[in-house]
Symmetry: C2
Amino acid sequence: MADIHSSTRKLLAMKNGLKPLKTAVVHPVDDYSLRGAIDSAKEGLIDPVLVGPREKIEALAKQEKIDISPYTIIATEHSHEAAEVAVQMARDGKVEALMKGKLHTDELMEAVVDKEKGLRTGRRMSHVFIIDVPNYPKPLFLTDAALNIRPTLMEKKDIVQNAIDLFSILGFGTPKVAILAAVETVSELMPCTLEAAALCKMAERGQISGGILDGPLAFDNAVSKESADIKGIKSEVAGDADILVVPDIESGNMLYKESRFLTGSDGAGIVLGAKVPIILTSRAGDSESRKASSALALVYTRNREKLDIKP
Amino acid sequence: MADIHSSTRKLLAMKNGLKPLKTAVVHPVDDYSLRGAIDSAKEGLIDPVLVGPREKIEALAKQEKIDISPYTIIATEHSHEAAEVAVQMARDGKVEALMKGKLHTDELMEAVVDKEKGLRTGRRMSHVFIIDVPNYPKPLFLTDAALNIRPTLMEKKDIVQNAIDLFSILGFGTPKVAILAAVETVSELMPCTLEAAALCKMAERGQISGGILDGPLAFDNAVSKESADIKGIKSEVAGDADILVVPDIESGNMLYKESRFLTGSDGAGIVLGAKVPIILTSRAGDSESRKASSALALVYTRNREKLDIKP
């Protein structure tokens, strides 16, 4: 069994010497989100700006014995306003990342995707989880298990490219990308198998770059050479995938939740494709996975600067 | 960590004293499918009738040193004919179950679902896997991860009822049924969350019976009390599910493959809703999971007889 915490530790190890990421923490009005942000700050991962109702945050900090005296609070009234203000700060270059506090992902993302005042780039935004599974020698990038519900082909193109870019910017090289389906053959009854084939062709034509794609692949073919061999699949990606691209949010979410639940492992995750990385984390997540996500956003941002890649 | 082979062993233990199931093995022309069938026969689980090309089967048996002398061969030419002949034998009451050999599931199922010569009942046919996951104290029934690609609401109703009936006929009592989605709230952006709510209401109205339903639930809410508590979910099912109902084949297949891959556990599975149970098994499956599936079909059939339940 592989070390189930390896990707988290790997990310945390990569942050050494990097300047903490100036991060707007959006509406941190419960213990979980405030403590999570401050824990990441103490690790030197982020330099938080707390955006939310000042009195409520101060009272919470006092009650939960969290020292927030070193940090700035930008006072806002409601969660909706906090999201808008945080997004504006990112537009103005005052912060380099956003972290979700206590508000719905939809509410935060509504401000992020606003066509006039949001953080759009030419890319569709998408989410990447980095997870560890037993019996597999390396971390897996899983996308999109959180943001895009039922992406179209052109949205999947951006989802794939975002994940490839993340992998590459982190310094991991050229990823092998498995486009997952329920089967490894193309069937018109399962449209995601056609889209998988189309994405591979797009990579051949240069419409997607920087990764080695194959699909459709079933989960077992993607991560097990033996399964791929039994099925007679000849593929550079099969059995050795770095990135798993799921067809929709249901399959992605279940894969992610099962891996976390089965192994108890922490996962890191960020939203890409916006002007700044965005750290979501679910309420059922824990401080470790929030730290790993902060480390991911930090290393991604600093490496991008070093490589002079514009968002 | 729970005993990851517990459901397989449990099923195998239940077969004691039961008369083996007369089973048509459809086109067993490779080592894997022939050996699997004979292994199940040696365990007293099935009494196989080999339906396929006589010379090819005999040559294979000789080459692989598998003793098939105790068993009948019904000679057919092609896999398509084997499927039709096996289905006719089931219609005539000459066999009590079908087992897939070396042919595509689609080819076998085409003969099974034929409106005039097939094995239809009033129910939509569906597949149930019984899987073991670590950190969970009991086997999980997973449906439908193999047969129905994107079932409609009314098809899901039958899928749920088939799984409840299986659970109950095996003598496990009244199952808690989690209708899975990516989230635990109803959202019109995710139609499967509405269908989950509709299925719960159908259970209240008696359109589905014999189980305690709740959904939508995310995977973690379904199997972890802690996750459910953090989300404030009040539910008899959350954290204690016996049956997981997935929205489509992609999510189901990935959940199943991940559980097998992560834990190395064997799973049992059968198709319900036909006049006789049908044992599918993938080429990447192994002899243990074929035996567990045979035991499942056997116990299900004998218990159904005892309870005088007609297909």
